[in-house]
Symmetry: C2
Amino acid sequence: MEDKLKIIPLGGLEEVGRNMTIFEYGNKIIIVDMGIQFPDADMPGVDFIIPNISYLKGKEKNILGLLLTHGHYDHIGAIPYLIHKIGSPPIFATSLTKGIVVKRQEDFKNGIKLNIKEIKRSDRFKLGPFEIENFPQNHNIPDGVGLVIKTPVGNILHTGDFKFDHTPVGDEPVNLKKIEKIASQNILLLMSDSTNAEMPGHSISEKTIQQNLEKIFKESNGRIIAATFASLLSRIQELIFLAQKYNRKVLIDGWSMKNNVEIALKLGKLKVKNNTLISSRQIKKISPKNLLIICTGSQGEGDASLMKLAHKDHKYLSIQEGDSIILSSSIVPGNEKSVQELKDLLSKQGAKIYHSQMMDIHASGHAQHDELKLMMEITKPKFFMPIHGSFYMRVLHKEIAQEVGIPKENIIISENGQVIEISKDRTLNIAKKKIASNYVMVDGLGIGDVGEVVLRDRQMMAKDGMFVIIVLIDSETGRVKQSPDIISRGFVYLRESKKLLFNARQLVINLVEHITQKQTPVNLNYVKNEIKEKLGEFLFKKTSRRPMVLPVVLEV
Amino acid sequence: MEDKLKIIPLGGLEEVGRNMTIFEYGNKIIIVDMGIQFPDADMPGVDFIIPNISYLKGKEKNILGLLLTHGHYDHIGAIPYLIHKIGSPPIFATSLTKGIVVKRQEDFKNGIKLNIKEIKRSDRFKLGPFEIENFPQNHNIPDGVGLVIKTPVGNILHTGDFKFDHTPVGDEPVNLKKIEKIASQNILLLMSDSTNAEMPGHSISEKTIQQNLEKIFKESNGRIIAATFASLLSRIQELIFLAQKYNRKVLIDGWSMKNNVEIALKLGKLKVKNNTLISSRQIKKISPKNLLIICTGSQGEGDASLMKLAHKDHKYLSIQEGDSIILSSSIVPGNEKSVQELKDLLSKQGAKIYHSQMMDIHASGHAQHDELKLMMEITKPKFFMPIHGSFYMRVLHKEIAQEVGIPKENIIISENGQVIEISKDRTLNIAKKKIASNYVMVDGLGIGDVGEVVLRDRQMMAKDGMFVIIVLIDSETGRVKQSPDIISRGFVYLRESKKLLFNARQLVINLVEHITQKQTPVNLNYVKNEIKEKLGEFLFKKTSRRPMVLPVVLEV
């Protein structure tokens, strides 16, 4: 066991998000990233999904560090929920990533003080049997890194999220020479970002995006309102550069974006001239053609800045005829309908809309087919493991690896929780048995208490509502006392269903008294089950709906 | 009033779907289409949305006919719900459209017998003050038509759903000359399909799609499983042609697709050689390389054929290594996640997947920018009204109209329920007041009874669940009898929340007895409201969730 390296992905392999991977040698552990995932439509009420860390229970003292690749929530968002549960190990992060993590921690009541160490983008340090060498990676947030993890069995290159951008904005161009040099140390295993493995060709450079955005600045005579992701600091930088060039002041709107901009400014990761940024109080004095508003809400999220504007529900802004609205983002799967609604509402109020299906005003931060291929060609790994992506994305990434000649048997398509072992003799073993890696759902203050049962109930009530009927049985006579109370929600419109409710009551009274006549003592559970079944059938017959039927039977 | 034409869209203007438009002259009415719309994610449990027909109440005798443009559900799907409520007027439909409408009607228990008249694709007939001339339109179902409605105030051209396809498969190529000739009669108003107004250029011809599909047939050595929309008969025809060319038998799988294929075969609208189609019992005898399965489920719908296959839940089919799966459809907005899941599940089982983001194996049935422009150039209308699309799509269509020189004031961007009046002197008036055109939701047997109240309750329970507490008050002493019963679902995992439930009961007992000590007689509504408020606060404080709190207070 001692001379084997274990790699255990706790998330990120069957989803885009929840990235967290354990590297264990002997009993020493390091972790890369600790991210959240956003819930699907069939998980109503769930705020986030975080990794299951039960494997680390009892191993807290052996955890030497948490390494962060960049400051996006799918890589750092679970820290406030989990870090104190694994013994608060030191966190290693570059300046901006550190700033974002610290700020987020402050937003959590009772959050512990983090033990966080700032590293440079090109840095080297030792953690027990591991030696870490990190290097800059382009993404759509500054200060991202990739990692080489040197272990006694060989060197592992973890790309983090990346794309190769030769002309980024507000970041250094990719230094392929540097990656080549790092890779010349003999890479045993390449773990590489699969998010865009479905996309052919090369990702669009941020410079191109900026050039397209500039066209809009040139033709707009009114205000420009640009919505993008709060964390897309590279895009925000591009917009600010353009505002300065075209003599516009900039208002940042949206809580999370404001936070990110503030952190980045403080750390010198955003370049902004004096007097460019203004506050909400100043906008009235500025003529429309001299104003750029950068805001959140490009996904049509109900509580974000642009959607409030669209709904005429914003504190101090409203859409005006002549506004140019830029949706500088992709549509996150699942948000298509709300983005359609957003566009309808905005265009109804006379705004002109520019979106990324019309022209290239958004680029993803993830490498596409040709870049993924280049990464493999540069690093020439023995083993290859596609990470960050659903199964299908990783299979496509695998096909790219086979194109460059990595043999099929050296490509690892595993699942979350599968333990991958590499021995000193460079042989690979993937354990069939998995450690716990199921979804842990965060809902309000509860972590992990919303599971399948609660979700199934929510889904069922969402579909057909619920129907509670309360029956009081006279313990002496066995007769039903009073008319049974009915509490129903989400099933039928009660005011127009009086006959249905009357018949339901009659059915239940008859049913109960039929049983109590014959049974002494009355088996209340039997009565409940009978009501549930017969009443359920009755309601379905009358409505073709299956509300959750919940009988309460009390003897008084 | 007498010499004015009223046009009243009941649906299709703020959505893609629910198409239905009233044309009224004097008191005589004709209707074009009667479609459904599919519900959004925030309408759990709702099956369909249908048009509100209250405007037609009392006018049943004046309805001279319902004209159908083609057999898709967003144009015909509401007939079984509505036709008998408007006096069962005659329906005018081409052969295939009629076949689909009649079949659907048979599926409804107690559905009336339709009064349906078959028309040719190029036909002319009079209905009171209206004269109808219809003409063939290409779409992705055969037998579609556009209409010219000749009225005493002028001629209206309604495009239906259309694209200009010079090389369709299984349909006649567009006859621009014919449309030109019809349009030469002086078009007062063009009402044109806006579904794809966002798309630049020209739609892809079905011939091109077939050529790309053929590449897959050439390189596949195993089974081919092609999933598409059940109603996409043109695509099904293309696939059948290819199967015949490449010596494959064809199995149609999926209830609705089977129905459609059966109808189309019977009417000669699908060209299939003898012995091409096989039944499920025959597939075992056929080697994989000689089999094509055409099925439903390209959207990852849980109950459709391909998703059952993916979940290993299909009656007689399972995925095999070597299968080629073709997803020959677009992704309907809102289905992105389920399609991702579908691809993951299928590729896990070793299938190779071809989808329309990889190559052109799907074309929309709707005209794009250049076709829309051409339609206007051919028809040269005085007035123009974009239909079939959300507000934003119609505004883009309006911009196209302005490009070809139609003046802004002659373009009608109205809302559902707005009455558009055109006088004999060719002046236009759009009434500000709207007639009822709100969503009518179908859920099971209920039509229209699920409204805002029921939906809001469903959404609320989906998010945080519900919490019913039942308190029995001794009418003599005012004390709480027994421990209050709690019925909670979708809120917390009850087994692990014993302390929370205990504290909730204590809070309620104390609260109730505090009130009953002071009040005689007890105001039960006051007690209920107090419980609702205080218990709600308590639960929120402990969990950050807001379940629907429903107190039941009974005096015994």
